[in-house]
Structures are given as C-alpha cells and as structure tokens.
C-alpha cells in the first residue's frame, strides 16, 4: 500500500497531462502530436522505474484511463503507438503479473487490443514497415502478457476451444511473432524476445498438442526458413534458441504418449483377413506405419491421416535445415542440435518415425548421443553406416575428415550394441578397397619421382633426445597429413573394436593372407591397416587386469596377440626384402618411401605391443631399421629414428648404441650376405650410420665386411658411385677411430713432435731475453767443461799458461776418439732397431692397418675420372695422416709413397680438387716435418711452373716495380677459386715453417708475396722473424 501511494504520487501529474490530450475531441486530436509523444514518454519513463509485481491493479486502472481514451481515437501515430505498447508492457509487468491480479476478463479484453496495436492487419503487411524499436515493444508486450497469463490459475483454459473468441487473436499473435522473427535476421535481441514469447505461449499457456497442431505448419515453416538462411546471417545463439522452441513445439504436438502412438507391424499372415474387413469399413490402413489410437471417433484434428501428412512435412523441414546447421560447425549449435534430435527421438520416436533416418544421421554426424538414443535405432544406424562405407573412397579422396570421424563414431555404437560381427568386417573390407583406390587411382598417371639426397654427404646426425616418437606420422601418398592422421585414428579405433570382439587376429590374418598375389601397393595398404589395428593392443596391461579373473582367457589372449604380431612381422620381412630388391640400383621413389615407412611403423608398433617378447624377433629386423636410418629419404630416416628409439626404449633401456652392439652379429651377417649377393649400394650408408650411432666398437666386428669392401674396390674400381660410397664410409670409420683412440689433437702433436725435427734457425730467432740467457748459459757450460779438463791438465803440467792452449792440447792427446765414435755409432744403431720395433701409437695395429689400407686404395684411385670421388678420397686422406703420425716410421713411408699422386691433384686445373688436395698436403707437412722439406721445395718449383691456381696470382714480386704498390687482391675470385687459393696458401705456409732455413731468401720472398695476396698480412708476419722481415720488405720497398 505504501508503494502504491508513492506510485500514485509520482504518476499523477504525468497522467493528468496525458489525459488532457487523450480527452480532446476527435476533430482536435492529432495522432502524431509531439506533445502527446512527450507525455507518453514521461509516463513510460516513470513506469520503467518500478520493479516487477510491485504495484496493485488499481494503479494500473488509474494509468490505463487516459490510455483507453487514446485508443478510442480513430488513429494513433507509430511512435505514439509504440509507447502505448510500452506502457501496457510496464503495467502488465508491475500490476498485472502475479496470480490473482490479472483477471481473465481483463486479459480477454486486452489481448485483441494488443495484437491490433502491434499489427492492425491480419496479413501483417504493415508490420514490415515498422521500426525495430516498434517491433521490440510489440514483442515485449506479448511476452509479458503471456507470462502474466501463465501466472494465473486459468492459464490452461485461456485459449481453449471453449472460448473461440480469442482464437483469431491467438493466431494473429503467433503470426506477428513469426513475422518479426523472420524479418529481423540482424537483430538478435528482437529475435530472442520473439522466440521467448512463443516458448511461453506454446509450453505454458496453450500446452495443448491438439490446438498447437493447427498452428504447427506455419511455425515449422518459419523456423525452417530461419535455420536454412545461407551463410551466417542468423546468429548462432538465435539458432540455438530456435531449436529449443521448435523442439518443445514438436514434442507438444507429436508426443508419442499423449497421442498413444502404435506402430502396426505385420507379423502374421492371418492378419490380412482382418485388414480386408477393416477395408470394407472404408477406413484407410497402412502397414508398418504409425496409427493414432487415442481418438477413434474421428472428431480430433490429429488423426492418422494428419500424422502421415504432417510428419512428411516435418521430415522435409528437418532435411532442409539440419545440413545447414551442421555446415556451420559451431559448437553451441552442434550441442543444441544434438539435444534437439535426442529429444525428438525420445518423445516422438513413433509419431515421427519417418524422420528417424535424418535424426540418426544427424547424431552420427555430430558424433554425439547425449541421451543414448542411437542404440535404440541400430537398424537405421546400420543403413547410415552402409551408405558412408560405400562412399568411403570419395571421403578419402576428397579428404572429408569429418565424415570419417562420424563414421567411426557410428561404427563404435553399432559394435557395442550389436552382437553380430558382420559390420566390422564390412568396414575393414571397404577401408582396404578405398585406401587402395585413393593411393593409386587407376585414372591418374603415376609419376615415378626419384628421391635424391641434396647433399653429397649423408646427414645421419640423430638427436634422439628431442625426438618424440608419438609425433611420427606417415603421410599416405596423395593424401594430406591431416587426412592421413584422421585415417590413422579411424583405423586405430577399428582396431580397438576388433580387439574388444576378440576377432582382431582373425581379421588381420585374413587381411594379410589374402595379399599373397596382390600388387605391392595393396600389400602395403594391408600392412598399414593391420598395424593400426594392432596398435590398439598397446593397452594390453589394462586388458590383462580384466583377464586376470579368467586365467585361461588371459593365456588365450596373450597367445593370440603374439600370433598375429608374428604374422605381421613375417609379412614385413617379405615386403622389406621385395622393396630392397626393387630399390637396389634404381633409387627410392615416392611409393617406395611410403612402403618403407609403413614397414618401419609396423615394426615399431609390434615392438610396443609385444614388448619383451619382441626380443627374439629383433634379429630379423634390426638390419631393416638400421638400413632405414641411412636412407636418403628424410621421411624414412625420421620414421626409422622413431622406430629405433622405440626398440631401444623397450629392450635396451633407451640406449641406441647398446641395441646395435647387442645385435652386431646379425648386422654383420646381413651385410655380408647382401654384399655377396651383389647388393652393394646401401652397405656404405648403413655402416656409416652404425659407426655414428654405436661408435668404433662396431667396426671391430665388421673387419670381414671391410675386407670385402676392399676386394670390391679392386674389382669394381670403375664404378665411381660405388667407390664414392665406400670412401664416405671410410671417413666415418676414421672419425670414429679418432674419437675412440685419440682424445684430442694435442695428443697427436705430442706424439708426432717426438719425431718431427724442424729445420729452422733455432736457437736463433729469439723473441725474449730469456733466450739470450739460455744461449749464454750453454756457452758457459761449454767453458765449464773446458775448465774441468784444463784443471786436470793443469795438475799434470803446471807450465801451461793459456787455458785455450791447454784445451787444444788435451784434444790432441785424446787417443781414443775413434773408439768413442765407433761406440756412438753402435749406440745409434741399437736405438734405431729398438725404435723401429717399438709400437708407439695409441691406435691398435689392426686398426692402424685399416688406415693404411684405406690410404693405399685411395692413392690408387686418385686418378679416377670421377671428380667427386677424388675430392672424397682427398678428404679421407686428410683425416688419415694425423692418425698415422702416431707411428712415425710408418707415416713417413706412406707420405713418401702417396706424395706424388696427391701433388698431381694440387697441380690440377680443377680448383675444386686443388682445395682438398692442398689441405691434405698441409697435414702431411705438418706431421712429417723436415722429412718432406726437400719435397716441398720441389713442390714450390712445380707450382710456379705448372700450377693453374697459382697463375691467378702475381707470383713474381719483381714485376711489381712498375705497378701499383698496394698489396691487395686485384680481382675478386669466385668462391671455388678463393677456397682453393686459401687452402693452397695454408699449405705453402705450413711448408715454409719447415723449410725457411733451407730455401733462399729470394725464393722465400716469392712465396710470401703470393701468400700475402690471399691471407691477411698480420697472420703471416707473426709466423717467424724472417717471414716478418720479408713482409716488411714487400710492403715498404717493392
């Protein structure tokens, strides 16, 4: 009462002002009066401040007085009408809302008025021209009116058939709301309000399926139009609300329980006679169709005929908008759609039986079954699955991943609820056939692309720590990675289903056994499928827990698992051999790449499944894995790394070296047998990988293989590719040998320096004062020796006054000098013998012998016409000489025997050969010392006469007198020439270190003049004092 009092006080002035205008005579009244509009706004503003259901109906009656007067006027403007509607809305909200406050009589009077105000014509034509604000006001009023009626106890009877006066208005209100809904695609709020109004009306007020059935077609039509608008014109939230309202409407109209729907199924031939009898009564009858049994008197609207006709329309509508909604791929819409479909299947299963297919398909497509309805519709589900299976080729070819996922969902439900196993077998068969068609379509030209490694040297660095084996993916030929991944998941899922039915081994066995005479591509597809099926067995530990209760079953399952794995492994072995035979000498094609990757994937999967039981089988497959690690194909290498890592993790505690070392015997056997069979192309790469992964220890087990390689070099030295591979292998062997026996380069120098003597100006060329003191000490020591002798002589002969004279005389009186010399010679000879026999190298003699053999073969092949081979040989030689220097007597012998051949390469006109040759000679000089001093001097003379690379420079400093004095490169050399020059200069400078004493200053100046044009001056000046002197002259005088 207090609130009413306050409200009256607030609203009174506004109402009085409004009344003055409302009470004007008809001829004086202006429907579009701005004053009227202002008064209406003022009243509406006041009313909007009040809370819901906070005022009494008396207040509403008071406010409504001028409104009623306005409505008696012949016309009213649009804006004015809008505010009248808003005022009515607020009155309904605040005064006429709760139970008992809104009399039925008032409602009956008010409802037609409202519908008329919103839309004055039955066809709602004028409504199109109204503004959104106007429409929104109309929706507000209708919504609030329905909510107010809903609160009254008479809400069920308000629109009943017993009161036909309101039915036209009811129909009109529904059409108004539908029109607004249809015409406002861009105004979400407006659409939401319209939908909310309809929902309240249908569910809470009418709630009579019989009555709603009269307005159903219009509603379904409008809803379908909204949901089928192209693109994304309709906001997804509006779609969701529309589905919700439509679901409620359909349930109210087609509820199986309320309609008492029965599906008459013909089960006995004797019923035909009954049918004939009924037919005589002239009553339509349909077999296997829904029949309305509730009403048999023919007085109700919803009869069997009605059901037959309208359900067809519903089906058409569903088939129209459901695909559209699915295409939007919106999570909210999908969820709402799943709920919508589930509700229909739950409540209208029989009445909308003809819509079963589209509803089931929708759930399958959404991969959702929130109310677990699909198991109740297995027959229809099976039809859907069969259709998709027959289109599997297209699904795969056009990479429709969503359909594949849906198919997996559907099959899962089928298999879980169906005891028969025919479906999964059909799936496997279709999958196999479809994959075959997709991978190699007959209509397409099969381009045999050869995979060639870009770099001449194989990149086999494996970083296992960063490798995630679960990410290894084999892209199916002609399919994207995404589609391949989806297919893999699909197949894996099928494997899980097969495992649950305990028929996986049978399916896999049959699948593989059928491929005996198939083309290789089909074999690979079968293997791919089988492997993905078997991958489901990786969950074996959980299964074991289940089977612990049934010991016999557990054993059975375990043995079956092993059996199928062995079958697949054997299949892998056969395929691997076939692939190797095809690849040998021809290179890897794309199809070969996929085939090998599949085999590796299979081995990895089976290892994961069998775990420890895979150990005995590894001996047959270790070669295949290691072979793949050395593949020129990046994809194969990647997959093989994953496979190797899996095997190592499973059987060897994650250690790849242990895996290889433990199986080295089998690797040797495999490699040897292949060498003997003439398959030589892959051996080098494989051995390289083995060396890199497991270290030099493996090489010791491969000595027979290495001997075979040497023999092959003898027989097939004309094949440059073969020789090149072998020398690439030799490089790996050398590097691993060095890694094992030589800790660092300092160790080599320490050993070598024991034998290398430098022909330098030592002890001269001093750079610090201590050296001065040292030489003085040496001279003093000599004098001390002389003094000692003098003392002795002095004791013997006191008359000798001169120290020098005494020294001279003592020398003359040494009668045993010849004997001493002889003794010294004997000592030298003895030490020489001892030195010769002593093995000083940290490298074992057997390994050292390998180095000598490699060097010998390399030296012989340095005249090979293949440039790449010559370069590779020189690179290998460059690595060998430092290691050979650990046994000096053998080193110098090899240096002497190979010097001429390598020098020919230094003098070659091909600069790409000159560069490694110079690097090699640099090492020879560095570790041989003055042994090659004379050879180096001769080499320089040859370089001046015959070297092509040296002609790139000005080699005669004397001609510089007439040219520019600046010392710099006068031309820009191409990279190959530049590299060769730098390499040659380093070689020459290394030679200068050992020959600066032996060669004349004039020649040395000539050498330095060449070098200074390539290497920075500062680097050269700091080599020694004499070189610094010469550099000074070149820079300052010439």
């Amino acid at each position: 009462m207090n609130s009413d009092t306050n409200a009256f006080k607030d609203i009174r002035i506004s109402c009085v002002e409004l009344s003055r205008i409302a009470f004007l005579p008809t001829e004086s009244f202006d429907p579009n009066s701005l004053t009227l509009l202002a008064c209406l706004k003022k009243v509406e503003e006041k009313l909007s401040a009040y809370e819901d259901d906070s005022l009494s109906p008396k207040f509403a009656d008071y406010v409504f007085v001028p409104i009623a007067s306005l409505l008696k006027q012949p016309a009213l403007g649009e804006s004015q009408t809008e505010y009248v509607l808003l005022i009515i809305f607020h009155l309904l909200r605040t005064c006429w809302s709760s139970n008992g406050k809104f009399s039925e009589q008032l409602g009956q009077q008010l409802f037609p008025l409202i519908t008329f105000l919103v839309s004055s014509d039955k066809d709602n034509q004028k409504l199109i021209t109204r503004s959104d604000e106007f429409k929104y006001a109309g929706c507000l009023v209708l919504h609030q009116f329905f909510k107010s009626v809903r609160s009254q106890r008479y809400h069920k009877e308000f629109f009943s058939n017993s009161k036909p006066n309101l039915l036209p208005a009811l129909g009109h209100s529904v059409t108004i709301l539908l029109k607004i809904l249809e015409q406002s695609p861009q105004n979400n709020e407006l659409q939401f309000k319209a939908l909310a109004s309809l929902e309240v009306l249908f569910q809470d007020i009418i709630s009579d399926g019989e009555m709603l059935s009269f307005i159903l077609p219009g509603n379904v039509s409008v809803f379908a139009k909204i949901l089928t608008k192209p693109g994304r014109q309709i906001h997804y939230k509006v779609c969701v609300r529309t589905l919700e309202v439509l679901a409620k409407l359909l349930v109210l109209v087609y509820d199986d329980f309320s309609l008492d729907i029965k599906v008459n199924k013909l089960t006995d031939i004797r019923e035909l006679s009954d049918t004939k009898l009924k037919h005589e009564i002239n009553q339509s009858f349909m077999f296997n169709g829904p029949i309305v049994l509730l009403r048999t008197d023919g007085k109700t609207h919803r009869d069997t005929s009605w059901l037959t006709a309208t359900s067809g329309q519903i089906n058409i509508a569903l088939e129209a908008f459901i695909p559209k909604l699915l295409k939007r791929n919106n999570e909210s819409i999908d969820e709402a759609l799943a709920t919508f479909v589930s509700i229909l299947l739950t409540r209208c299963e029989n009445s909308l039986n003809n819509c079963e297919k589209v509803l089931v398909s929708t759930l399958v497509h959404l991969e959702r079954d929130p109310m677990s309805k699909l198991p109740s519709h297995l027959v229809k589900l099976k039809e859907v699955v069969n259709e998709d299976l027959h289109k599997l080729s297209d699904i795969i070819r056009f990479e429709n991943a969503d359909r594949l996922s849906s198919l997996s969902f559907a099959i899962t439900i089928l298999e879980k609820n169906n005891e028969r196993d025919t479906m999964i077998n059909e799936v496997v068969r279709c999958l196999f056939e479809s994959l075959n068609e997709s991978i190699e379509p007959p209509s397409l030209i099969n381009h045999k692309e050869r995979i060639i490694e870009q770099s001449s040297q194989l990149t086999t660095t494996v970083n296992f720590e960063n490798l995630e084996s679960t990410n290894a993916l084999i892209a199916l030929p002609r399919l994207s990675e995404d589609m391949s991944l989806k297919l893999k998941k699909f197949t894996y899922h099928m494997g899980s289903l097969l495992l649950e039915r305990h028929i996986l081994n049978d399916v896999v066995t049959e699948l593989i056994s059928e491929q005996v005479d198939s083309p290789r591509t089909q074999k690979i597809v079968a293997l791919w499928l089988s492997t993905n099926f078997i991958k489901a067995m990786e969950k074996q530990p959980k299964e074991e827990e289940v089977y612990l209760q049934f010991e016999s079953d557990a054993n059975y399952s375990s043995s079956m698992v092993e059996e199928v794995c062995l079958i697949v492994l054997e299949f892998c072995n056969e395929l691997s051999q076939d692939i190797s035979m095809e690849i040998e000498g021809k290179g890897i094609k794309k199809s070969d790449e996929f085939a090998v990757c599949t085999v590796l994937f299979s081995i990895e999967t089976i290892c994961a499944v069998m775990r420890e039981e895979f150990q005995p089988e590894l001996i047959d497959y270790i070669y295949t894995v290691v072979d793949a690690l050395a593949s020129p194909s990046e994809a194969i290498r990647y997959v093989s790394q994953s496979c190797a890592l899996r095997i190592a993790d499973t059987l060897y505690h994650g250690s790849i070296p242990n895996m290889i070392l433990s199986n080295v015997d089998y690797l040797v056997e495999s490699i040897s047998s292949r060498l003997n069979s003439g398959m030589t192309e892959r051996v080098s790469q494989i051995l390289m990988v083995i060396c890199q992964l497991a270290g030099y220890e493996t090489i010791e087990n491969f000595k027979d293989v290495i001997e075979t390689i040497f023999k092959l070099l003898d027989y097939y030295h004309g094949y440059s590719d073969l020789c090149l591979q072998f020398f690439q292998l030799f490089k790996i062997i050398i590097l691993e040998m060095k890694k094992k026996y030589i800790n660092d380069d300092e160790m080599i120098l320490k050993i070598a320096n024991q034998h290398i003597s430098q022909s330098t100006f030592s002890p001269w060329g001093m750079t610090d004062f201590q050296q001065v003191l040292n030489i003085l000490d040496k001279e003093t020591q000599v004098k001390d020796d002389i003094t000692d002798e003098n003392d002795v002589d002095f004791l013997k002969d006191d008359n000798e006054p001169s120290n020098f004279q005494e020294y001279f005389d003592s020398k003359l009186r040494e009668p045993d000098s010849d004997d001493d010399e002889e003794e010294r010679e004997e000592e030298v000879e003895g030490s020489s013998k001892e030195y010769t026999d002593q093995w000083t190298s940290p490298i074992p003699s057997d390994s050292y012998k390998i180095l000598l053999q490699i060097l010998g073969y390399g030296e012989r092949l340095l005249t090979h016409p293949s440039k790449r081979l010559r370069v590779q040989i020189l690179i290998v030689m460059r690595l060998i000489f430092p290691l050979l220097s650990t046994q000096h007597n053998l080193l110098i012998r090899e240096v002497a025997s190979t010097w001429d051949s390598i020098i020919q390469c230094v003098l070659c006109s091909d600069y790409s050969i000159v560069q490694p040759a110079c690097s090699c000679v640099e090492q020879m000089i560095k570790y041989s010392g003055d042994f090659v001093a004379k050879r180096f001097i001769e080499l320089w003379q040859k370089l001046c006469q015959d070297s092509f690379i040296l002609k790139e420079l000005r080699i005669d400093p004397t001609v510089h007198n007439h040219e520019k004095k600046s010392i710099s490169k006068h031309v820009k050399f191409p990279p190959v020439t530049e590299n060769a020059l730098v390499s040659m200069v380093h070689m020459v400078l290394e030679g200068v270190k050992i020959t600066e004493y032996l060669i004349s200053e004039a020649v040395l100046e000539q050498i330095i003049y060449c070098c200074i044009q390539v290497v920075p001056v500062e680097k050269i000046s700091s080599m020694s004092l004499i070189v610094g002197d010469i550099v000074w002259k070149i820079r300052n005088i010439n």
């Binding site: 100006f761 001269w764 060329g765 001093m766 750079t767 610090d768 004062f769 050296q771 001065v772 030489i775 003085l776 001279e779 003093t780 000599v782 004098k783 001169s802 120290n803 020098f804 020294y807 400093p957 004397t958 001609v959 510089h960 007198n961 004493y997 004349s1000 200053e1001 004039a1002 020649v1003 040395l1004 100046e1005 020694s1024 004092l1025 004499i1026 610094g1028 002197d1029 010469i1030 000074w1032 002259k1033 300052n1036 005088i1037 010439n1038």
Partner: protein
Amino acid sequence: MTAVTDIIDELNDSSLSSTRLRELCLQLRKKTDTGCAITVSDEVNLIESLSYHSISPGVDIQINTDVLQTIDYYFQRNKSEHDEIMCVLISKLQPLLLKRKSNFELKEQRNLGLKPTLGMSLKEDNLMQAWVSQGGLKGIPLFYVILLHLKRRDISTNLSWIIPGILNILDDTTDIRRIKLRGVLLLQTLLNHTFMNETNDSKWIQFSSTGLFPLFEKTLINMCYFLPPSYNADETIAIWRVVFPTIQSLYKVEFLDNYTKYQYHLEKFMSEIILQNIIPRASLAYENLTLYALECTMNILRLQREGSVVHLQRLIFVLGEYIVRNPFYTTFPKLISKTLSVVSTLIKVCPNERIVAHRFDILSLILVTYDKCSQEDALNESILQQCKETISWLLNCDCAMGEQLSTLSKQPRFQLLFEFS
C-alpha cells in the same frame, strides 16, 4: 832515338823482364811527347805487342797497369785512326781464338745449359792441347785489350765472334786458372767496359737483348762451388776474386732497367751461395775464405740497403752457429773483428723496425763474442771497443732493452762491456 820497330822487337822477346817492360812503357810515352810521327802499321804492331803483356802469363791474374796506360795513351793520341787500328787487331786475334764447335753444336750446347761434363771427350781434349801448343794462350791478353777499347756502337757487329770466343774459353776443363778463369775476366771486361761505358746507349744493343744471361749465370754460379777440399783454398780465393765481381756485373748489366729484379738475383746469390754454402763450409777451417766472404757480404748489404732485411735472420744464424759459437772462435782475431763489422753493418743498413725485432739475436752475438774473448784472454782493446760500438749502434735503434742490459751490467763478467767512458 830508338826506332819503334826496335821497341816492338824487344817487346816480343820472350826473355823480356818486367823491369825492362816498365822502362819501355815509360820510354814509349816520353817518345811520343816529342811529336815524332809514327805510321799506322807500326802503331798497330806496337799496341799488339804491348797487349800480349797486359795480363801476366803465370797462374795469377795480374793486370799490368803500365802497359794498359801506354796502350790507352796511343789510342787517345790517334783517335782518328781508332777504327782502323781495331779492325786490324781483331783480324789478328781471330785466328788465335779456339774454334772447336760449329754453330749447330753451339746451339745444342746452349740447350743443355752449358754443362761442361757433357762436352768431355778425347777429341776435345786433343783440340785444346793443340790450341795451347800453338800459342793460343797469347790471344787472351789481346782479346782483353780489344774488349777494353771496343766502342759501344761496334759491339753488335762483333758479337758473333766475341761470344763464341769467350764461351769456348769458359768451357775449358784442363786449366782453371790460366784458361777458364781468364775467360771469366774477359766476360767481366765485356760487361763492365763495353755494355756500360756509355751514358746514352739506348740506341745500341742491350745485353739483356742477347739472351745470354742464363748461359753465363749458370757457368759462373757453378764456379762458386769450387770449394775446399775439392780445391785448394788459394785457388778458391783466386776464383772468387774474378767470379764474384763478374756475377755482380752480370746482374747489373742484365737488369739495368729493373732494379727489383737486380735485387732479387743479388738476394739469391747472397743467400744460396754465400750464406748457405760458402760460410758454413769454410767456417773457421779456412779463415781467409771466410774473411773474404764476410767482406763480400758487407758489400752486398750496402748495395741492397734496406732490402738486405731479408737476410737478417739467416745472417745472424750463420754468424752465430758457424762462427761465434765455434769453439775456436777466439783464435781468429780478424774473424772476430770482421764478424762484429758485419753486425754493425746490419744494424746500420737494416730498418730499425726489424732490428728491434731481432734485438735479442744481435745482443746474443755481441754478448757471446765478448764473453768468449773475456774468458779466453782474447779480449784486446780493439775488440772491446768494437763490442761497445756495436751495442751502442743497437741501442740507437730504440730497442728498449734498458732493463735487461741493466741486469747484465751488474754481473761481473759483463761489467767491463757496459762501462762507457
């Protein structure tokens, strides 16, 4: 007044003494002052007779300056008849020259690089002996005089007989000092007096145009290796005295327009011949050879000036290892002095920057020399002074060794060296 013919007869007398030869030369120069006339024929005969005495006939090559002055006097007196006289002299000389190879054989010889051993044969020996017995040796002095007075413009027309004449003498293997070495002298004369006696000789033939450099260089370089014990030390010095100047002349004439190449070859000679072969082999065993070599070294260093920097390290090494550190070093005072002189020359000639780089080497040479002499009672005033001067020169190059030298000067053994009055 004695007749010219009589003098000629006396000159041709084999019993003529050196004293008498001198008197006759003086008389000949005085006689002409009186203005007496002399026929061209007599003058030719006179010059020819005198020429035979221009070089001593013995083993030693001694140039008779009196005879040369007299000959020069007569050539100056009769300038207008110079060409006529030369023609006659040349015609008299040519029959005396050794002829034993045809042009074809000579070309073949050149291709082989003039290796004497390849031409050895009994036939050639017989030819040589016959030539000598027929008085062929007399032609060499005449050849010498002709080369001395041959004019620049006449070289090209006479080159065809001069070159073979010299080469045939150089090819001799029977007598180094009386035959082969005189061939070297003739070559030296040709180079010094014929190809370099004109200041404006661009229009005349250049020695470098003849293409004879490789031929002569190889022969001369080969003679540098005539060392003990294969040869007597005196012979070696005699050879060097003629060969070394000739080599330098050869380089100078050949590379008149290319100083850099001249330096290059001088470097090569210095390094390969003197520093790598002669001094290490002569060492202290042949003092005279080493002294001569060191003197030659100093001369070349002065010629090269700053360019001698390239020899700095090797020269220090050779001096240090083969001379200074030799146990018998102190018994050769001349060598000590000469060694220190070479070091001083190095310090003066080479750039300071590089001397600083080698300062410890040079200091060691001086300290070891001083220490040895001091310890072995060989230190005399002259050597001490030379050591001090050499150190002084070294310190003038901004060597920045004050601290080190201060340490040394506090040691008793070096105290005297670092005392400066």
